[in-house]
């Protein structure tokens, strides 16, 4: 049994893309057998529908002069949203939107799973050091130095995995090391740097205005140690999705590609009981 979780910056702010985002979402959840899909750049009242049997929470409230822009779609028979909250860091008179903190229960294995969904601004404005966002995320995810439960960080962080700002998060490309160090997060997105697709996709975000590379890897999935060891949920793999149904996602005018992480779901409590 698998649990499949996706993330997509569904930049639907251009009116014609709103409808397209809906059809991409429906194709994406069907083809990739998703159970949860987190979205950002969602306009208030415009959360796409994933179809029958799906529900969602929209987090598009105002936050100071800006606005949250997230949604979480979930398959009702696969997961339950126990609670969710927005987490802000007040820093130098600014309200930094660190993450939407979503507590899930995975029904098949009765296991909790925490999702922290982020959409951070580009550091190019220079007003806020990206390391401050990373620090906020670390304080949230690992208040005592290490995450206390199975945690997935997903987001459009607007920096690449190689950025030194991540030093504050103990994020690594080294899965074996991360599985031994409780304070570490394994960042799947290291594998999505550079060209990996026959079509030439070389990241998750397409930005043709950059003369040196048209691709960046801003959309990332990081998992805590709990999800790398034997347990009710264990990371299998992740992928970047270029096509959904008949849609070439970038070709439609979207600039971000969805990313997906798959977890093996095992009812370890039942297994232990039957072994006993």
């Amino acid at each position: 049994m698998e649990l499949r979780v996706g993330f997509w910056n569904a930049r639907g702010k251009r009116p014609e893309l709103l409808e397209q985002a809906g059809s991409v979402v429906q194709a994406l959840v069907a083809e990739r057998s998703l159970d949860v899909l987190a979205l950002v750049e969602v306009e208030p009242g415009a959360m796409p529908s994933a179809g029958d049997g799906w529900s969602g929470i929209e987090v598009t409230d105002a936050e100071g002069r800006s606005r949250w822009d997230a949604a979480v779609l979930f398959k009702q028979d696969a997961v339950e949203v126990v609670e969710h909250r927005r987490v802000v860091k007040l820093w130098n008179e600014r309200r930094l939107r660190i993450a939407v903190d979503v507590e899930l229960r995975v029904r098949a294995v009765s296991a909790p799973l925490r999702l922290l969904i982020s959409h951070w601004p580009s550091p190019s404005g220079g007003a806020v050091d990206h390391a401050t966002y990373v620090r906020g995320l670390h304080e949230l995810a690992a208040p005592n130095g290490a995450p206390e439960r199975a945690t997935v960080l997903m987001g459009d962080y607007n920096v690449e995995p190689i950025d030194r700002a991540y030093d504050g998060l103990d994020a690594t490309r080294d899965r074996a090391l991360a599985s031994r160090r409780p304070s570490f997060f394994y960042n799947l997105a290291w594998r999505w740097l550079g060209t990996w697709s026959a079509s030439g996709a070389a990241g998750t975000y397409r930005y043709p205005a950059d003369p040196h590379t048209h691709w960046r890897t801003f959309d990332q999935v990081l998992v805590s140690t709990h999800l790398l060891r034997e347990g009710p949920l264990r990371l299998l793999d992740g992928e970047v999705v270029e096509r959904a149904g008949e849609h070439d996602i970038v070709g439609l005018g979207f600039d971000h590609l969805p990313v997906v992480a798959a977890f093996q779901a095992r009812d370890t409590a039942r297994e232990e009981a039957s072994d006993g």
Partner: protein, 132 residues
């Protein structure tokens, strides 16, 4: 061979950092309570009460007046080392994460500016005759 003396000294230094952070946090909440007491003419003070539901480091921040059970204002979660501290105003969907004194003070100031929170303090401070 392990240098136990050096290890213990490092441990002591770490303890010092944690104790300093905890005292600093206590001081921030004490000043917060003193400010509330002053503005309410000595009627309302704030208390941090352990809140087991939140696990270790979990507290309920309550506004209390003698002879009343008081009103919950927020839930506070403090890490083992002091910082970080999260402040979740009662009934709110936004919580604040603070990694140092400045950020904690900003979060608590934000809490007091929240109309629902201020109302809870104000209603507690009001004398029965004020309530009409």
């Amino acid at each position: 061979m392990a240098d136990f003396a050096k290890a213990l000294k490092q441990g002591f230094e770490a303890v010092e950092v944690v104790w300093t952070a905890r005292m600093e946090i206590e001081d921030v909440f004490a000043r917060l309570s003193a400010a509330v007491l002053e503005v309410t003419d000595g009627k309302v003070r704030l208390e941090l009460r352990r809140y087991a539901v939140m696990g270790p480091g979990g507290y309920e921040l309550r506004a209390v007046r003698d002879g009343t059970s008081g009103n919950t204002l927020a839930y506070v979660k403090q890490s083992e080392s002091g910082y970080s501290v999260s402040v979740q105003p009662e009934g709110a969907k936004t919580s604040y994460i603070a990694g140092n004194r400045e950020e904690l003070e900003a979060a608590l100031a934000e809490l007091l500016k929240d109309v629902r929170i201020a109302e809870r303090i104000k209603s507690l401070a009001a004398d029965p005759s004020d309530k009409g």
